[in-house]
């Protein structure tokens, strides 16, 4: 197969960037999208050009590293699929394919298709955890958890932190990502003691990072490679409301977690 790749080139965060077009030929349908870009990069290297920078690591849809907008869609046209799991058999022979980085104020471009997603990590640091030290812990079966609850928590915890939800959202909101963690921990008994602090602190961080607000476009869920459900945004909203209304005082203000 042969493809015409129109790809975003940007030297660094200060550069204004522009599209460049390249042709790649002799690609089999069993080649993954990233392997096709590898082939392009080998070609560029051998011809004295500069390879296209893009993030990837596990190449099996779980690390959340790969991140590109393909033909206007985060992670490309196939639903529930990360870019690394996309295969060229999903494209027409001879197609022109447009490839861009995630575009969001909170995710500045580092180079070409690589963006800086550290804002996501800071949201996690603000409350995406249960405070436990390493050491002896209670016998887990002493706190039974209904399998449905554990499964629902796992549905939320399956978020890979890729950022496609932000890239897909017209408002570049990070609500789906944040709500997935708030819901995962909120559903489990282990997450209960810190639930108020968690939701307030994570939302505050999210807003401070410059993500837009949620206007219920639903694009996040539609383009999320892990099919994280938008219902978790509802859960976050409820948690947030409760935390705000029922408890104005922030216990963390007085008490150190140590």
């Amino acid at each position: 197969m042969k493809f015409n790749i129109k790809v975003w080139r940007q030297a660094n965060s200060k550069d204004s960037g522009k599209f460049e077009s390249y042709t790649v030929d002799n690609i089999s349908g069993d080649t993954s999208f990233l392997e096709m870009l590898d082939a392009l990069n080998i070609q560029l290297t051998k011809n004295g050009g500069d390879p296209v920078a893009f993030d990837s690591d596990c190449r099996e849809g779980v690390c959340g590293m790969c991140s590109m907008v393909i033909d206007g869609q985060a992670h490309g046209p196939k639903p529930a699929t990360t870019t690394c799991q996309l295969y060229m058999r999903h494209f027409q022979d001879g197609a022109e394919i447009t490839v861009e980085p995630w575009r969001a104020t909170a995710f500045p471009v580092v180079r070409d298709l690589v963006v800086d997603r550290s804002a996501f990590d800071r949201i996690m640091q603000a409350g995406g955890y249960v405070t436990v030290h390493s050491g002896p812990k209670p016998e887990p079966n002493s706190i039974p958890i209904e399998p449905e609850v554990a499964e629902e928590a796992l549905d939320a915890a399956s978020c890979i932190g890729c950022g496609a939800c932000v890239a897909a959202c017209p408002n570049a909101s990070a609500m789906l990502y944040t709500s997935a963690k708030v819901s995962h921990l909120g559903l489990l008994p282990q997450g209960d003691p810190e639930r108020k602090h968690r939701v307030l602190s994570m939302v505050e961080q999210m807003e401070g990072e410059g993500f837009g607000s949620c206007r219920n476009y639903g694009e996040c869920e539609a383009q999320c490679p892990k099919e994280i459900s938008i219902k978790f945004i509802g859960m976050l909203n409820r948690e947030y409301l409760q935390a705000n209304l029922l408890d104005q005082a922030n216990p963390r203000g007085k008490m150190s977690p140590q």
Partner: protein, 637 residues
């Protein structure tokens, strides 16, 4: 090189508790005066960094990805062992110890293996307390399944994403400690060298992958948790970025490298499909619980697999190993797959594949049960191959997966360089010549949550809290690392890094893969220096060192693989026996089983760097068997 294992002098089941009671401690008020560097944020690194930080040490944590959560551990699928005996099926610490020793073909230290089994139950407790949503039974109790090579059900899991959930658990603790200011997180930051001052590890040199800045970091101890080196084969189940750089640099600074030739080839990966194949995807071996492995009985079979009648199918594992059947250990399964393919019975492109068939399991248990167990794995398979396991048997083939070899460490997890520790897959400690399924994560978390936080205190308490950040060795390290980067950029040849890495991989797969022979290894040792020369004369690394430059990153890692592969082949040559994953053609039983030599090879081989262009020195740590006498592995009866 002195190899003192520091195994405590106590009965096996009291060893760890006795040892802990006698370790020196650093008091809570003093801990913040010690700085510890942890390289890696996988299960081992994230658990170690967060645990030490919570105790009060100041921790610098490093990873080359853009977020700690993306470490390769995230990709582990199947599960994690814990000797909880929830199933009342006869499991115990002893049995997990026994299975691990036997699975490892008696090439691990008994004391370490016992401790691993002992600590395994705490890991499950710890993870649940963090909010890891393990699978539950109807009554709300934790669920278990069985995993390759054992006769009990002791594996805990979260669908097919156990590694992801355990890593997110460890990274959540890391995130909390980062926010609290006890951990300084350095993402997109790659270790290029280790700094040894007055015989002790005192810091590292890194390159900021975004700005290109090369910098030194000083500390009172350095912990490597940088993962395994399966990518020496280019095609492996590991993430693209996995590398040997950190451990190789440690080796060049005096740390002994143990058993580099012990690498596990996993039997159930999706076969390679084409010339640009960049990695192999693992299908969790939990699939072997229900799938039946077979090939056509006769060469040249052309019928569709579904219409091949029972008599013309060769269920080779079930026939050869009636007791374990499709659940034989990984090395046995891989070798047998290669064997039937070498006989011309393989299926799929180039005949490099065997069937893993769910037809009978679906018939017996019903669609829904099988879907509940494997749906996401089936989905993954069809996504990659375009074929559905519901309609056609899967095709699988062995792929390099895990490296038992790694930096030599003593019972405290310290390498031969004082102050330099190695944990997780980067050390050699617990799996001998072969690792059991679901035991890697267990070892990473045992090391990180429970062992290193205690043993590092013993080391630190013996040393001052002095500051060496102005020491000339650090500036010198920066200079040398910079020179190497400049050298790579200056080659300006014609070949892509990818091309040379692919050729290295093929050579290693052919000569130091599933089966090794003296002839093959000698051949590899002849070819490797040539390939290395070609790399240093004809590779082209585009761009500059002052920017994000992925070719440069890859070139630096490949340069280390090209050196390391030679030690790997030397080790395979020097180990003149077969054991676990290491099958020497010259040493097999008439049935093609590995033939160990306990008389002369019951040891760990440890390689010591002797300077550029000199042959490394080989040392041995003798292994002692007090609890369990080595027996010939026999999965047949």
């Amino acid at each position: 090189m002195k190899l003192e294992s520091k195994t405590p002098d106590a009965p096996l089941d009291e060893m760890w508790s006795t040892h802990r009671e006698h370790l020196r401690l650093v008091g809570p008020r003093n801990r913040s005066r010690y700085r510890v560097i942890v390289v890696g944020t996988g299960l081992a690194g994230a658990s170690a960094a967060s645990s030490m930080a919570a105790m009060g040490y100041k921790v610098d944590s490093f990873c080359f990805q853009d977020s700690p959560r993306r470490a390769h551990s995230i990709a582990a699928q199947g599960g994690i062992n814990g000797a909880k005996n929830y199933r009342n099926d006869g499991d115990s610490v002893y049995r997990l110890f026994y299975d691990t020793q036997k699975g490892g073909d008696f090439r691990a230290r008994e004391g370490n293996v016992w401790r691993l089994a002992e600590v395994s139950t705490n890991i499950i407790d710890q993870a649940v307390a963090q909010g890891v949503p393990f699978a539950r039974e109807y009554g709300g109790m934790l669920a278990n399944r069985s995993f390759g090579g054992v006769l009990v059900e002791r594996t805990f899991y979260c669908r097919g994403e156990t590694g992801q959930q355990l890593l997110l658990g460890a990274c959540s603790a890391l995130a909390q400690q980062t926010r609290a200011g006890n951990v300084k997180m350095h993402t997109r930051c790659e270790l290029l060298d280790i700094i040894v001052i007055d015989g002790r590890a005192r810091g590292i040199i890194t390159r900021d992958l975004v700005t290109g800045e090369i910098k030194s970091h000083s500390a009172h101890a350095v912990v490597l948790a940088s993962g395994g080196y399966s990518n020496v084969y280019y095609l492996s189940t590991n993430a693209k970025g996995c590398n040997v750089t950190a451990t190789w640099r440690a080796y060049k600074k005096g740390a002994g490298f143990a058993n580099p030739c012990f690498n596990q080839i996993h039997p159930t990966a999706i076969p390679a499909s084409g010339e640009y194949q960049s990695k192999l995807t693992l299908m969790s071996e939990s699939l072997r619980n229900d799938g039946r492995i077979w090939v056509p009985r006769h060469e040249g079979e052309t019928r569709d697999p579904n219409s091949i009648p029972e008599d013309d199918r060769l269920y080779y594992l079930e026939e050869r190993y009636p007791r374990f059947g499709n659940l034989v250990p990984r090395d046995v399964a891989s070798r047998n797959a290669k064997d039937v393919c070498d006989q011309g019975l393989g299926v799929g492109p180039n005949g490099r594949g065997v069937f893993l068939d769910f037809r009978d399991a679906i018939k017996e248990h019903g669609h829904d049960t099988i879907a509940a167990r494997y749906e996401n794995l089936f989905e993954m398979y069809s996504r990659i191959t375009g074929e559905s396991p519901w309609d056609r048997p899967m095709r699988i083939f062995p792929a390099p997966h895990y490296t038992m070899g790694g930096l030599w460490v003593d019972y405290n997890l310290m390498t031969t360089v004082p102050g330099l520790f190695a944990i997780g897959e980067s050390n050699f400690s617990d799996h001998g010549a072969n690792r059991l399924g679901a035991s890697a994560m267990m070892q990473c978390l045992a090391d990180g949550y429970f062992i290193i936080p205690v043993t590092i205190g013993d080391y630190l308490s013996r040393h001052e809290t002095d500051d060496v950040s102005g020491h000339p060795a650090l500036q010198d390290g920066v200079l040398k690392a910079q020179q190497k980067v400049d050298q790579l950029l200056a080659i300006n040849g014609t070949k892509a890094v990818e091309d040379i890495h692919r050729r290295l991989g093929k050579l290693m797969w052919d000569e130091c893969g599933i089966i090794r022979s003296k002839t093959g290894l000698d051949h590899a040792l002849e070819e490797l220096p040539k390939l290395r020369d070609e790399f240093w004369n004809d590779v082209r690394v585009a761009g500059t060192g002052k920017q994000l430059n992925q070719s440069l990153e890859h070139a630096g890692r490949l340069a280390d693989f090209l050196e390391f592969s030679e030690v790997m082949c030397r080790d395979a040559l020097a180990r003149d026996e077969s054991c676990g994953c290491h099958l020497r053609e010259e040493h097999q039983t008439p049935e093609g089983e590995a033939l160990r030599d306990d008389e002369s090879c019951a040891n760990v081989s440890v390689w010591e760097y002797q300077g550029e262009n000199n042959t490394p020195a080989l040392h041995h740590e003798a292994l002692h068997y007090n609890e369990l006498q080595p027996t010939q592995r026999n999965y047949k009866t």
